[in-house]
Amino acid sequence: MAEAEKEKLTIVMFSGNLDQALAGFIIATTAASMGMAVSIFFTFWGLNIIKKNEGGIKSQGLMRKMLNFMNRGGSRRLKLSRFNMLGLGTAMMKRLMKDANYPSIDEFITMAHQMGVKLIACTTTCGIMGLEEGSFRSEVESLAGAAYFLGEARESKTTLFI
């Protein structure tokens, strides 16, 4: 099916929690399997999901440096929204997922990208938080604003805010 004829799904990924990211990527990959054109728009804490796992995050100014130090992000550093218990709960959940042969968020990102899911970072929050394009992993297609999101959402049958 041609890209323009496909039904569209747009997801706003606002949260940066492991469980919520998982829900977002499950729906995104399923929709892509069903022949839908999927875009995920990452904003605020959601940006943590698509930050590079390796190296530091470069930013300008003391407050931004502090923010990106405390809020480092990266798919492997996400925490559960509940029962994190200083990391113990999150570690246990990751263990359960692994034992169940379930893909990690990292693997979901790669899978989604291979399936043609578009990953977009919100320029406004990137600007405020001092995140440059180089802060994100290579699967991220572009940086865009709210108008781009609304342009996609207007044409989508389904839009989710997670």
Binding site: I26, T30, S33, M34, G35, M36, A100, N101, Y102, M115
Partner: protein, 77 residues
């Protein structure tokens, strides 16, 4: 039911059986039947829904023990 190809999804949870089915169906020719073997109950509802969305034909479900087999006929390229 007779199938041209089989896909083993035992031990996999949603959405992996659907993701793998969407990938596997590309290998079949129109008119051929794909058998998907799974043990996650979700597939009994998910596969008919996937077929409705993609236009492939859902042929039915067979259950034996904890093993679920669903059959899909490829309708188009």
């Amino acid at each position: 039911m007779k199938a041209d190809q089989s896909l083993d999804c035992v031990g996999l949870y949603c959405p992996m059986p659907i993701v793998k089915t969407a990938e596997k169906i590309k290998e079949l020719k129109p008119g051929e039947v794909l058998e998907v073997v799974a043990d996650d109950r979700g597939i009994t509802q998910d596969m008919p829904a996937w077929c409705q969305a993609t236009g492939h034909e859902f042929l039915g479900t067979e259950e034996k023990g904890g093993e679920i087999k669903v059959y899909v006929k490829k309708a188009h390229q």
